[in-house]
């Protein structure tokens, strides 16, 4: 008998966020780490430009894209990577995607309060 109501996988929407996040982090994280992690602490660039950028609506949008998508991608890949090393986290999907959802909410809240 054909099951007309199969259990739907949550993977397609997660994959969308994961592939977007993989591309966002691939394109932007290297230069972002260079700027925030090396140039800024060494005093080569001034924080004023970053602060002004973050207060502009477009800057806020950029920050949301740069935080939310890579967080989903990273947590999705750790979730699946755990199985590769035979660590089967109980309710892993709920934990990792729950953390990603929590991160999303907190990031939106943070950016909204800048």
């Amino acid at each position: 008998m054909i099951n007309t109501n199969p259990k739907r996988s949550n993977e397609p929407p997660v994959w969308l966020l994961f592939s977007a996040g993989g591309m966002v982090s691939g394109l932007a994280f290297p230069v972002l780490i260079l700027i925030l992690g090396i140039l800024l602490p060494l005093g080569i660039i001034s924080p004023d430009g970053i602060i002004a950028f973050a207060h502009h609506w477009f800057g806020k949008l950029v920050i949301l894209v740069l935080t939310i998508f890579p967080a989903w991608a990273g947590l999705h890949r750790i979730h699946h990577g755990m199985h590769d090393i035979k660590v089967h986290v109980p309710a892993g999907g709920l934990i990792f995607y729950g953390l990603a959802a929590l991160y999303t909410v907190v990031a939106i809240w943070g950016v909204a309060s800048i």
């Binding site: 994280f29 972002l32 780490i33 602490p41 430009g49 973050a54 935080t67 990273g74 907190v106 943070g110």
Partner: protein
């Protein structure tokens, strides 16, 4: 319904948690997958940056945090990991997307590498102005 039973000892190939250590190809796969950890690390750093911006403590607390030697080392490792992630991703995306788009894998790879260069240059220009 009758059930098929068997006394045969089914062969189940044993897989150890260190299965990937046996071959360079697998080892590289695991190194690539491990770049997910620096991704999450830097996402948390960015989140801290966002909240320090909201509290007006960016120049003091956040910059101070980034000046911590351990944080700097973690960020340098993350930078290397993200470069590995980026360039392997561009190659893979070319291979995966070439059938559905009808473009040559090499063309997609080159386009993504150009996009990477453009994003990096724009980022640095914005950082220095």
């Amino acid at each position: 319904m009758s059930e098929l039973t068997t006394k045969r000892n089914k062969y189940v190939r044993e897989i150890t948690p260190t299965w990937w250590k046996s071959w360079d190809f697998y080892r590289f796969y695991m190194v690539r997958e491990a770049t997910a950890i620096p991704t999450v690390w830097f996402c948390l750093v960015l989140l801290y940056g966002v909240f320090s911006l909201a509290d007006n403590t960016f120049t003091t607390d956040f910059v101070g945090f980034m000046q911590n030697p351990i944080v700097m080392i973690l960020n340098i490792i993350s930078l290397a990991a993200m470069l590995l992630h980026a360039f392997t991703l561009f190659t893979m995306t070319g291979e995966v997307m070439s059938n559905s788009t009808g473009l040559k894998a090499e063309v997609i790879k080159k386009a993504l590498q150009i996009a990477f260069a453009v994003v990096s240059v724009i980022g640095l220009i914005l950082a220095f102005i």
